[in-house]
Symmetry: D2
């Protein structure tokens, strides 16, 4: 793959590099290897992938990238390590570097508009691709991130290190909630990151939170819930994402029919061939280039540019949908607590068919009928454990006076989206 890390010469300067972050201010990541990894093209590519995909269509400031989020998470990891060490827990410098790398690279497998891609072009989870890419990089640098990968896969005996990377209170969430709140301007999503990190502790090799931190946790869970419904599942954002799925699926269909379609080289590969998870695992070659390399060349720009061109494609469906997205003429969205009755859907389909004068087959591209769910806290495999003053352990939902059955309740919403110009309600 890349031969990047071995080419550089003056390695030791990086260790002092200071990162200027609008959210956390100045910080330094204290490790040469971490900075080497940041300079890797696969990591640099995260600069070109927005953290929140199409959310900028609703929150104009939400242009922050997965690159910033990864750096921020790594910074919080250093804070958490320092806080746990102050409480007497032993974390060796090797472990500290490894867990920092694990969080730094945890999202490296994200493609552009990740959830959209997983529903259209790439049928494998980004978590799995993250591991594949981490192993790819690891082989380039002679196993220097072995331990990081072990922690990431939860194969290391100090479970709390993995929990800092992936768990109810991991540095990933602490960073992204705060960051997404900051850039979207939804200040209510603000998370008291400092205080939560100061309240973390370790008990029996597991990450726990001290009793006096429970109000901060409650607030964190409620802020998370607010961010879900106010930002992540904002109906206009959801509508834009569904539209993008329809566009990509239509483009893929046209390609499969042999139609000519402008696309950037990297995107073309994924429009032309339907990859299976095993293709990624075996890293098969297309045009003599491994599929993971193709994947890691994709970013937001490929999608935006191609759709911009498709506005003028001869296929009426593709052209119509592309114009809607590029010019932000997004679908109207209805939401409901119950599924929309099939009668209503039928009526919508016939309205669409007659209005756009299209075939029965094409109708599906002009509306979306989907269910979305969210629950803020699920008591189960990855619950939050609270450590009381007298050293007893309990589940957070038992420690809090608040009845958290509310937060763990799965909330379902049904979305029905269709072109604004339709005379349909």
């Amino acid at each position: 793959m890349y031969r990047y890390l071995t080419q550089r010469n003056n390695l030791d300067l990086n260790k002092r590099k200071i990162i200027n972050d609008p959210v956390f201010g100045f910080f330094n990541l204290q490790s040469e290897l971490v900075f080497d990894l940041i300079e890797h093209p696969i990591f640099q590519r995260l600069r070109r992938i927005k953290q929140l995909g199409l959310t900028f269509q609703v929150f104009p400031g939400a242009n922050h990238t997965r690159f910033e989020h990864a750096l921020g998470s790594a910074y919080l990891m250093r804070q958490a390590i320092s806080s746990l060490r102050n409480k007497g827990h032993i974390i060796t410098e090797e472990e500290a570097e490894a867990v920092t790398i694990a969080i730094l690279l945890h999202d490296i497998g994200h493609g552009p508009f990740s959830h959209v891609m997983e529903n259209s072009l790439v049928h494998i989870s980004h978590e799995e691709i993250s591991i594949l890419l981490m192993e790819e990089i690891n082989s380039e640098i002679s196993g220097k991130i072995d331990l990081a990968i072990k922690i990431f896969k939860n194969e290391y005996h100090k479970k709390f290190l993995c929990q800092l990377v992936s768990g109810q209170l991991d540095m990933d969430r602490l960073d992204y909630l705060g960051r997404d709140s900051f850039f979207s301007g939804v200040t209510e999503g603000h998370v008291g990151v400092d205080r939560i990190i100061k309240m973390l502790n370790v008990w029996n090799d597991n990450l726990v939170v001290e009793m006096k931190g429970i109000y901060s946790i409650e607030k964190f869970l409620i802020a998370r819930r607010l961010m879900y419904w106010q930002v992540y599942l904002h109906k206009t954002v959801v509508s834009a994402e569904f539209l993008l799925i329809n566009i990509l699926n239509r483009a893929k269909e046209l390609v499969s029919q042999g139609q000519k379609l402008f696309a950037t080289p990297s995107l073309s590969i994924f429009l032309e061939k339907q990859f299976q998870p095993n293709d990624f695992r075996q890293n098969i070659k297309i045009n003599n280039i491994p599929v993971l390399t193709h994947f890691s060349l994709l970013d937001d720009n490929d999608i935006h540019v191609s759709i911009k061109v498709w506005q003028n494609h001869s296929d009426q469906v593709l052209s119509y949908l592309s114009k809607c997205l590029i010019n932000r003429n997004l679908f109207r969205v209805l939401t409901s607590d119950k599924p929309y009755p099939s009668k209503k859907i039928e009526k919508l389909r016939s309205t669409i068919k007659s209005h756009f004068n299209i075939t029965e087959e094409e109708i599906k591209y002009f509306y979306i009928n989907q269910e979305l769910t969210n629950s803020a806290y699920s008591k189960g495999s990855e619950n939050i454990t609270v450590l009381s003053k007298n050293g007893k352990i309990m589940d957070f939902s038992d420690a809090s006076d608040i009845n958290l059955s509310a937060l763990s309740k799965v909330v379902r919403k049904f979305f029905l989206c269709f072109p604004k110009e339709l005379d349909f309600i």
Copy 2:
């Protein structure tokens, strides 16, 4: 009383005065009368009364005053008026000024360490004194704030105006939660004031919140809960306040025994005589000065200064307690979900007695055994009403997916406080 407002001459300049507030930035209150009231000595006195009493002993930045809070609330009121007018509700300029004045003066009856005072020296609620002082001022200025008082007493037909002053979502709470969070440095108490105000509406003359605002309300209630337990009922703050109650009660007892005690003139009055609510209502005169005037001369400084002197008083109890407060050698605090058993209390009392070598009567000054409660949201007389998109009305606890029985549950905590030096657990 004061003949203040009538003495000034160049009245019209004030209208443009800009206030510089660390929390809300620059603002202007748009009314000449509002600025005249701000200049009144009774209002200026709020500059010398801390919003959070002794909380600065735990949160060093919490030195903000009731003066700032009153101005901030008035600013938010102007924002709320503007938002409601934009939605088509009619609020005359006269009403706007009156409701702004009502919120400006809502806390004018607070004395220093208000809750402490009401448990020691002044046996009447600050709300009632607020009304008495407002009426006093009103008579000085020929009834110019008649309407403000009417709104404050909820005697005006547009109920929502009173609810903006006093209700679950009033401007008082919106300001103090945000402000106390800001100055205490407990940033998690941050409230999305802007968004909540933009979500307010009026239905049937009552204040309601629009459906899409419910996540903000949830967060507001949780933030409020957090502020209660993390700041307002912080156990060291509670301990300091109980200590102050004991000090004032001891001082009063000594005075009643005829002992000589330094005190500022205003404080002396309240140490010497036990006023009844009716004394304030009839505004009886002591030393030829009305009791309300005496009251309005009291501020934090009188208390601090007197206790500082009492450190060297010959009474061992008063001297000991005063030293503890002034030098921040506060009582140790135990908390429990259940009342402390009388056996434990007995043991504590005998430990105290032998350690300090005091009489049976004096023991009570050396410990505190109290219950505190808090509920974040109470469905009842002053509930939050939600207005759905289709114009229907429901209670907030029914509108939210979160089970708010949790928030409305009365949480009880029992506090047991005693000198740190005691060997007692």
Copy 3:
């Protein structure tokens, strides 16, 4: 051109639309027409053009767009209008809307990486394109923005309106300095926008600042100077921009030599043909589409995507430079107060030639030797006028105790950039 604005139906809802901005919070722009213009595809396109071009390579948070800046400037304009009206100056609602539109559209002529483009592909200033596009839109909507264009061109008798759009203290600068400071994380660039706007006044139809605002102005000028050298002219940013110019010039050269090159359709047009200013003014057609339409289809994505593909182009020069930019392997930068001596340049050229094994002609793509200048305040045509309390007028540099010859001094720096791998100093 576009027939966009006439297609929409429910126009009147927009007027209440609230924009959520990380910098200024919630705001509303109070005009239906303003919101219609925001929805125009030519304006929406600004969402895809970063305000600071390649600056994100140094300041990872600097991903904010010209879209956000335009909205922010319009918001500040409404604040300025309100402040001036409060001081008794008459600004009709028609004028208010027009000046808001003028600032909203002031940057509409920016292409991607504007300064880069003007040095490579597009030889006409963005200001002139702004006017051409405004006139284009104006003709679509039957002259509704006649007055805005008049103000923008400084052809309206109330000069101060134009000065609010373009002048030493215009809303453009007030927004971009604050916004760029916010997103770059260089908090020292923070500007006291609120205070400056409150200090503006009008004298003889000209915008002036009140005497008591001079410290704020000093600080604004110094903050601006700091932003220039710390962010805008940061040597690594400058190096990246020069690299991009070289890449585009090389690509253009290859195309002119008849070589095949991937490029998005819009970019291809500008690589293939060298447009003259008059081509834009006459809006000549290429492939039956007016050049302004081609231009308004270009955005950052076209450039990023094309360069990403060029990494693998067979031309060694193009491929090398493209890799440098995409993988952030930027040129090393030397700076000096004096021009670099030609001997040094010659030595550099020969080092490059032998290291890369290239032709004499190609050397120029491998280094940059440029001068950059900045002056924070220029006393001259667009000076800052100060209004003293007694109604006298003076230039800011006379009003301030600080010797502003310093700030107006043109500071020159010479940049010499070349590949990091070269053994050259």
Copy 4:
């Protein structure tokens, strides 16, 4: 003196104590001894002394105390130590603790309204009292702060340690400018503390700033200048402080005439006796208590409370001035670049005399005629030294392109203050 520090028992818990600061968030001061000193009554007393004296009369949020400032400075010191150590400079843990203590205690000699006091009741500088109190504490704790005192007095060979405590870029200034800006709401005074601290370095045992930090320094100096004229020397603040000086001088005069005057015990001592510097140095006893103990019992409350009582004193002068201050009916202020001509002063004096019907002797209490100066940067003994990349040293004023003769220019303003009710201009 106090026997405080030796009484406590569980010393080791403090080391982990976390301070919650609105300006810097959570922090910890990493030293047991530092926390012991914080608990000392002489230090706790700083909680009752406002950092900005009477400034709250103009900026309602400016109620922050010297206690908070001392803690914040100590926190910045730990940051600076950490930054310098990262650059390879050796600072032993003993030195680190000592320099932290030196900054923590640097302002311990401040009395209430320090500059006022030094012009009325206490004729010795607060710096000298700081040293006297530090030595007092030192003798209580067996010389544990010997090194801190040595550094404070600049008697330690590593000069840069003293410069971190007291110099052009000391932690004192970095904290107070930022903090005063924060609480006054004058956000333009914001200082990029993080960046400046990161730019500090040591050269030849002296504190220097790195070349790339010069824009931050420029901004720091300008922000400081702005804070001077906008806050510290705000004319209404100045007017209030002069008023307080007149009040205290009048009170002292009345006492010297044998008149009876309410005052708190501590204040009485200073009204009754005129102490000389040597009295403090020898710590003479009054009423059997050392004068330094009397001094350290004084705080803002003593002054406020006494003046509040003086409103009703029979002396017309004292009563009038006290009412003005308590009810914020402050003197009107004129300012000028030149001294006010004696004719004008004469006219003012006679206006005062006839209006208030007072003696010739008393006139002086009813007006103030004073000069104030400020210069933001003085090249001289304590200049800022810049370290260029190639290791050369130069003065900041030579390193910056800005002509700093402007900043170092002593700016003089003449203030003339008199009662608002006077018909005099």
